[in-house]
Amino acid sequence: MSDLLIKNLRSSTPGLTIQGLKALDLVLHGTEITVLHGPSGSGKSLLLRAIADLDPSSGEVWLGNESRVSMKAHEWRKRVCYLPTESAWWFETVGEHFPRCDSIYFTRLGFEDDVLNWKITRISSGEKQRLALARCLSRSPDVLLLDEPTASLDEQRTVLVEEIVSDYSKHRNVPVLWVSHDRKQIKRIAHRLITIDSDGCIEELTEKKN
C-alpha cells in the first residue's frame, strides 16, 4: 500500500487531553514496523486513536495521496485499523464477528476450525487478543495501529503474533505502528523506535534494523 503521513497531529479528546503532549509529525513507511514506547499515561493510545480518527484531533493524516478528511470516517477506519489492547465482542459466538469465514489467520494463530463456534463468554483473555488480531487482519487494513497486541500472551504466542504481523506488513506493503513496553520485543520487531516521555515529548531514538 502507501505510506502514512502524520502532520502536526494532536489529540483533542474532551476531558482527556494530556498536558504538554507535543504534536506528532511522522511518516510511517510501508513494510516498516515503528514501535511507540513510553510510560503508561503518556498518551500512546490517544495518539493511535487520534490517527484512526476515533477521537477528535487537530492536524492532518494522509494515506498516500489521500487525505483523511477526503473519505468517510468509517472508510478511513476500515483502512487504518486501530487494535485496542482490550478487544470488544458483542455477538454470542466468535464466528459472527468475522465478515468472511475463510480467515487464514485462525490456523496460523493456533486455532482449530471449530473456533468459529466458540462462545465469547468462554474464551480467555489471551485467546481474545489473538482472535482480535485475526478479526482485524481479516478486514485487510492498509495500516495497522496495534496497542500492545501481545500484552496477555505467553512468549511463544508473542513471537507468533510478531511473525504474522511482520509477514502481513511485508507482503502487503503495510505500515505498522506498534505500542510496546517489552524491551526484548522491541529489539525483535522495531525498524524504528519512537518514545514519548512523561512530559509528552516525542522523540525518534534509533534505527534498529536494516
Binding site: 474532551p14 470516517a73 476500515k78 485499523c81
Partner: protein, 263 residues
C-alpha cells in the same frame, strides 16, 4: 344516570392507604418514601389545579386558551422526560429531544383524531381536545422516557463495544444498531402490554371513567379501542423519533462516539 359525587371523606380514605404504604416503606427502610409522598401530593395539587383550569377553559371554549394549556402540558411533559433520565444529553438537547419528539407525535395524532376521526364541533372543543392530548402526551412521555433512558444507559455501559465496532470500520449506524433496536422495543413495552391485557386483566382507565359516568359499555369500548390505537401510534412515532435522533446525536460528523454529550 348521575355520577355519585365523591365526598372529602372518600378521598381521605384513599389517601390514608397511600400513607400506609409510605409508612411501611419508611419502617422497612426501603427508601423512596419521599418520592411517593411528593408524587401523591403533586397528584392532588396538579389535578385540583387542572380541574379549576378546565372549568374556565370549558366555559370559554376559546382556541387560544386551549393552545396555551396544550403548550404548558407539552413543556411539563418535556421537563418530566428530562429529569427522569439517569444520563441525559447535555445542554438544550436534554430538554428539546424529548419535547420535540412528543410534539411531533402526540400533537399531530391529536390533531388527526380531532379533525378526521372524532370531528367535534368546533374541532378544538376542549371536552375532547384536552383529554385526548393529555392521554397521548402521558403515554408518549412514558415510551420516550423508557426508550431514552435505555439508550443512554446502554451506550454509557457498552461504550467500549461501540468504540470497538467503529475501530473495525463499521458505520456509526451499524455500531449502535443493537442498542437502538432494544431502546425502541423498551419504549414500546408499556403500550404493547396495555393492549395485550386490555379487557382481559385491566379495564383501561378511560373506559372505566366513561362507564362510571353512565356511557353504554359498547360506546365506551369503541372509544377505548380508538384511544389505544392512537396511543400506540403516538408512542411508537415519538419513541422512534427520539431514539433515532438521540442515536445520531451521540456521534459527531466523523462518526466518533461522543460520550461527552451525555452527563
Amino acid at each position: 344516570m348521575n355520577v355519585i359525587s365523591l365526598s372529602p371523606v372518600d378521598l381521605t380514605i384513599a389517601a390514608a392507604l397511600v400513607i400506609v404504604v409510605a409508612m411501611l416503606q419508611w419502617r422497612m427502610r426501603l427508601g423512596n418514601t419521599k418520592s411517593l409522598l411528593i408524587a401523591a401530593t403533586r397528584t392532588i395539587l396538579q389535578l385540583l389545579l387542572l380541574g379549576m383550569v378546565l372549568k374556565i377553559v370549558f366555559a370559554a371554549s376559546n382556541l387560544y386558551w386551549i393552545a396555551l394549556l396544550s403548550t404548558i402540558m407539552l413543556l411539563a411533559a418535556g421537563r418530566e422526560v428530562m429529569v427522569r433520565q439517569k444520563r441525559r444529553f447535555i445542554g438544550s438537547w436534554g430538554f428539546l429531544l424529548g419535547t420535540s419528539s412528543m410534539f411531533v407525535s402526540a400533537f399531530s395524532i391529536t390533531l388527526l383524531a380531532l379533525l378526521v376521526i372524532v370531528q367535534p364541533e368546533p374541532w378544538y372543543l376542549p371536552q375532547y381536545s384536552i383529554p385526548l392530548l393529555g392521554m397521548l402526551l402521558g403515554n408518549t412521555l412514558n415510551g420516550i422516557t423508557l426508550g431514552l433512558d435505555s439508550l443512554t444507559r446502554n451506550v454509557w455501559e457498552q461504550n467500549s463495544i461501540i468504540d470497538g465496532r467503529l475501530a473495525l470500520g463499521e458505520t456509526w449506524s451499524n455500531a449502535i444498531s443493537d442498542i437502538r433496536r432494544d431502546s425502541i422495543r423498551v419504549g414500546m413495552i408499556p403500550i404493547i402490554n396495555a393492549m395485550s391485557v386490555a379487557g382481559l386483566v385491566s379495564l383501561p382507565g378511560m373506559m372505566t371513567g366513561q362507564i362510571l359516568a353512565g356511557t353504554p359499555p359498547l360506546e365506551a369500548v369503541k372509544y377505548q379501542i380508538l384511544i389505544m390505537f392512537l396511543i400506540a401510534a403516538g408512542t411508537g412515532m415519538g419513541t422512534i423519533t427520539a431514539i433515532v435522533i438521540g442515536c445520531r446525536r451521540l456521534f459527531d460528523d466523523r462518526e466518533r462516539l461522543r460520550l461527552d454529550r451525555l452527563r
